[in-house]
Each structure stands twice: as structure tokens, then as C-alpha cells.
């Protein structure tokens, strides 16, 4: 069985936010909910890097650990999904998640946050594949059509990769090797990487 993963290559991500837009469009996600976001650190300084982040589908997910109604489950492909019929919108998964993946439609005083929404790895939810309920609650189910998540599929620099962890890491390993000996002196050309004196 495949184990599905997202990888984001910080050397390649150009913060175009196309993954964010593609995700919103594909799943028709309402305002204020962003299943994926691009974070830039050291913006405008030396060493600026961007990374696209969404649910990382952890093997031992803290959201699932903390959920008071136990609405999370992991599919055979290693994708962490949740059942919106069970979710009560308490927000604990948002506090527990290291990546800030869980999203809530509303955040106002006394407002019911509404049910949690997050990246499904384009794999829908517990409902029957391609049913109208599934689309309404979780968006498109591309995985069952044999397609990978749209964010990674349409990444222009192929910074964001998705798919079976083995395949992804092979691709990635090749990239690292091709970057020369800079694996431990990343971002610097081979000549300059030599430590002088």
C-alpha cells in the first residue's frame, strides 16, 4: 500500500500561491478557509525561503489524538481524514496541529466555529466516492479517479510534490545529488562551499 506524502522543496518554491488558489478552486472552498498556504520566512532578507504547507497527514496525528469526539481516521494510503458528521467544531485540532492545517469557517465572539475543514489530500471523506454529500462536505475526490492532489500537480516549479513517499523521496534524492556537494552547504555553489582557512 502506498503511503501518501506531500513534500515541499524550499529551493524551488517561488511563493506564487498557485497551490493555494488551485486548492480553493478545485474544492470550491468558502472565504476564510484555506486548506493550503504558503509561508515565507525571512521575507526580503538573505536566506529567504518559502514553503507551501497544508495537512501533512501525520502518521501519528496530534489532531486525532486530541479530538474529543474522535472524528479522525487514517486511510490505507496514510491519509488523515475526518468525519464532518461527527466533528463538533471545538477547535482543539487547530491548537494541536503543528502546521495550522485545520480551518474553521467562522471565528467570532461566541460564534460556533462551524465544522472543521482541512486538506483531504484530494481524497474526499467517509461518504461514498463522488456522492453529492462527499463533494459538499469535503470537495473533490481526485484520488479515487487516479489523480494526485491538484496543488502539487500544477506546481509550476515542481517544488510541491505529492504521492507515494518512496517515489517522492527518490525524486528528491536525485535533486539533492544534482545540486552537487551543497547538500550540507545548501544554497551555495560548490566552489564557495569550500571552507577556506
Amino acid at each position: 500500500m502506498a503511503r501518501m506524502k506531500f513534500y515541499c522543496d524550499a529551493e524551488r518554491c517561488i511563493e506564487c500561491n498557485a497551490c493555494v488558489t488551485a486548492c480553493k478552486n478545485e474544492h470550491e472552498i468558502p472565504w476564510g478557509v484555506n486548506r493550503r498556504r504558503v509561508v515565507t520566512i525571512k521575507d526580503g532578507e538573505a536566506g529567504e525561503r518559502s514553503l507551501s504547507v497544508a495537512c501533512m497527514h501525520c502518521s501519528d496525528a496530534p489532531c486525532a489524538t486530541v479530538c474529543p469526539v474522535d472524528c479522525f481516521y487514517t486511510t490505507g494510503d496514510g491519509i488523515v481524514l475526518h468525519d464532518k458528521d461527527i466533528c463538533i467544531g471545538c477547535g482543539y485540532c487547530f491548537y494541536a496541529c503543528p502546521f495550522g492545517a485545520p480551518q474553521f469557517p467562522e471565528e467570532a465572539a461566541f460564534a460556533s466555529r462551524g465544522k472543521m475543514d482541512k486538506c483531504t489530500f484530494c481524497a474526499g471523506g467517509p461518504e461514498e466516492d463522488h456522492s453529492s454529500d462527499e463533494t459538499r462536505k469535503y470537495g473533490r475526490n481526485r484520488l479515487s479517479e487516479g489523480k494526485l492532489p491538484l496543488c502539487a500537480e500544477m506546481c509550476s516549479t515542481k517544488a510541491l510534490l505529492s504521492g507515494d513517499a518512496d517515489v517522492i523521496s527518490d525524486i528528491y534524492r536525485k535533486r539533492v545529488i544534482n545540486r552537487g556537494a551543497s547538500a550540507f552547504n545548501w544554497g551555495v555553489s560548490f566552489d564557495n562551499a569550500k571552507i577556506k582557512g
Binding site: 524550499a10 520566512i41 536566506g47 501525520c58 474529543p68 494541536a96 503543528p98
Partner: protein, 348 residues
């Protein structure tokens, strides 16, 4: 174990598998290099291992949206699931066992000479309304809160996820709505009882004698004894902490980040549990535990012998000021059914 798995997963996001826990901060690098290990530094920054929290920028605007990894979330989740649920269940079970043991050993604490039937006014209508309002609101919040805290390990095996989800949703929504009422009734409690709950001379003796539970005989006390005063201040102070933390949790509109929410949540739960545990003792002492106490909160009147036994200084005051009323007068004032008949016979 969990953290290690996560760590491994996170490592894969980055161009190399750095094991460094962050490079030395004030190192001078060889000419032409910004840093010896830029990848390691980046990773260290993302994992928030430095002194300050690294806040990146993101086009997605929202609380904490610029933070890539908030490691405290995992710690909080594990603390809530392991320590909080375990120790709170133990504390709740322990308090019931302790009370049962106490009941077996001490039984119902009676009054020497029994009840006289002659009564003295202890609480006004307003004070009793305040007490019971706070009690109703507190009980409701305690039950809904415990459902949310302990429901997953205790109730899901009983009801299944679907039914428990209904219960949890109902609990959460009503807990959030009723919550602020606790603060309101707490403030009413603060203002109406504060004067009589200031510690005074003699309270220390009460404490040293263990409130009369060590050894025999009752200990001297004023209108409220040392134990009651302490319970009052526990309610007010811990109650205020619970209220304020609750308001912070229920209003995520001031940009408070996840770390604040996690800390506030832990404080909220621990303080609330403390209140619940002590309140169970209070409920026992106020009803089954001691003879004649519940009367004071039900009708506002207590037996004069009860006052003499538990609050001798206040009882003495009642004797001096001649505040004691007869059983018949008490019946009439409290309005039991016999009064109707008595009144009827008078007028006809």
C-alpha cells in the same frame, strides 16, 4: 515516540536531513559565507528552536498563519489526552471515595442536644437566589465540561461516536453560552457575601483544630467559619480565573495565538477541576454531611442550636439581639401548608 515520528516527517520537507539543534548564534563565519549550515539554521528557525518565535509571512491572513510549525501543540495535545484526563478521573473518583470514607467514619455530623425547632434568620432571599443561581450555572458547566473532557475515553465506548457527537456538540454549545453567566453570578456572589468572609481573629484556631473534625467538639466560629471563608475565596478567586480563561477561549477575536490558547486551556481545565472536586465536598458537607445546614440555604433560617454549635460567636449575637423566632412563627414565615390552615381558621 510521537514527536520523533513527526520530526522525521518534518525533516522530509526540507532539502536535507539536518540533525543539528540549531547552529551557534554568534559565530563568525569564514569569508564569503553567511552561515556554516544555512539549511540547519532554517530548520532550526522553523522548529522555533531559537529564542524568539519566528513569524514568517503568508498571503493567507489569519491567526498564526505565518508560523510554519508550532511544536507546543503536540505537547499540549498529549498533556490533555494523557495527564489531564487520567488525573482528573482519578481526582474525581478519589473525592467520592474520600467522602464515602468520611461518611463511614464520622457519619452525619449532628448537633449536641439535637434541633430545638427555634430558628434564626441566616440568609436573605437575595443571598439564597445568588447562591442557587451560581450553583445551577456551576453544575451545568461542570457537567458539560466533564463530558467534553472525559467523553472520549468514557462515553464513546458506551454510546458510540454518533450519539456521543450529539451530546458533545450540545455540551460544547451550551457550555460556551452559559459560561459567561458564571462570571455574572460569581460577581453577584462576590458583592453580596464579601463583608462576612474577611478573615478575622479566631479563624486560625479553627484551622489549627482542623475545623472540629480532629478530635471531638465544635470549634468556635463567627457568621462564617474559617472553612467556609476559605471555600468562599476559593470559589471567588479560582472562579475568576476559570471565567477569564473561559472568556479568552470563547472569544478568539483578539488575535490570541495557539500557544496562548493552549496555556489558557490548561489553566481553565485545572482550575475548573479544582473547583469541581472541592465543590463536591461542599455539597456533601452542606447537605448529608452536617445536620441542619441545608435548611439555611433552603428557607433562609437555621436552628439556633445549629448556630450555637457551628458558629457560636454569631449564635451568641443572635441570643443577645433576640433574633430567635419560635417554631410556629417560623412555619408562618416560611409558608408551609399548615400556615394556610392556621390563617384560614383565624379569618373565618
Amino acid at each position: 515516540m510521537k514527536i520523533q515520528t513527526l520530526l522525521l516527517l518534518l525533516c522530509m520537507m526540507l532539502p536535507q536531513f539536518s540533525q543539528a539543534d540549531g547552529p551557534p548564534k554568534k559565530q563568525t563565519y569564514p569569508e564569503g559565507l553567511l552561515s556554516l549550515n544555512p539549511g540547519g539554521e532554517l530548520w532550526s528557525d522553523i522548529r522555533q528552536r531559537g529564542d524568539s518565535v519566528l513569524d514568517g509571512t503568508s498571503q493567507v491572513k489569519g491567526v498564526d498563519s505565518g508560523i510554519l510549525i508550532n511544536a507546543s501543540g503536540v505537547e499540549w495535545a498529549n498533556f490533555r489526552v494523557n495527564e489531564l484526563t487520567t488525573y482528573s478521573s482519578i481526582a474525581l473518583a478519589a473525592v467520592f471515595v474520600l467522602i464515602f470514607l468520611f461518611f463511614l467514619i464520622r457519619g452525619k455530623v449532628g448537633i449536641e442536644g439535637g434541633l430545638s425547632g427555634r430558628m434564626v434568620k441566616r440568609f436573605t432571599d437575595y443571598e439564597r437566589i445568588v447562591h442557587w443561581t451560581l450553583a445551577v450555572v456551576f453544575l451545568f458547566l461542570a457537567i458539560t465540561g466533564l463530558i467534553l473532557l472525559l467523553g472520549r475515553p468514557l462515553l464513546i465506548p458506551l454510546f458510540g461516536k454518533e450519539v456521543f457527537s450529539l451530546l458533545a456538540s450540545a455540551s460544547k454549545e451550551s457550555h460556551n453560552l452559559v459560561g459567561p453567566l458564571f462570571l455574572v453570578s460569581l460577581l453577584m456572589m462576590l458583592f453580596s457575601f464579601v463583608r462576612r468572609n474577611i478573615y478575622e481573629k479566631g479563624d486560625l484556631t479553627w484551622l489549627l483544630k482542623g475545623g472540629g473534625f480532629i478530635g471531638d467538639g465544635h470549634v468556635s466560629g463567627g457568621f462564617f467559619n474559617m472553612g467556609e471563608k476559605t471555600w468562599y475565596w476559593i470559589v471567588i478567586l479560582i472562579g475568576l480565573v476559570v471565567s477569564v480563561t473561559g472568556l479568552i477561549l470563547v472569544m478568539p477575536i483578539f488575535g490570541q495565538g495557539r500557544i496562548i490558547m493552549e496555556i489558557v486551556h490548561v489553566i481553565h481545565v485545572i482550575c475548573a477541576l479544582a473547583l469541581i472536586v472541592v465543590s463536591i465536598g461542599h455539597m456533601y458537607m452542606g447537605s448529608v454531611g452536617t445536620e441542619g445546614t441545608l435548611e439555611g440555604m433552603k428557607t433562609g433560617y437555621v436552628d439556633i442550636n445549629w448556630a450555637d454549635a457551628h458558629h457560636d460567636r454569631w449564635g451568641k449575637e443572635c441570643h443577645e439581639k433576640d433574633l430567635i423566632i419560635s417554631a410556629e412563627e417560623y412555619d408562618k414565615l416560611v409558608g408551609t401548608s399548615s400556615v394556610n390552615e392556621a390563617d384560614g381558621s383565624k379569618t373565618t
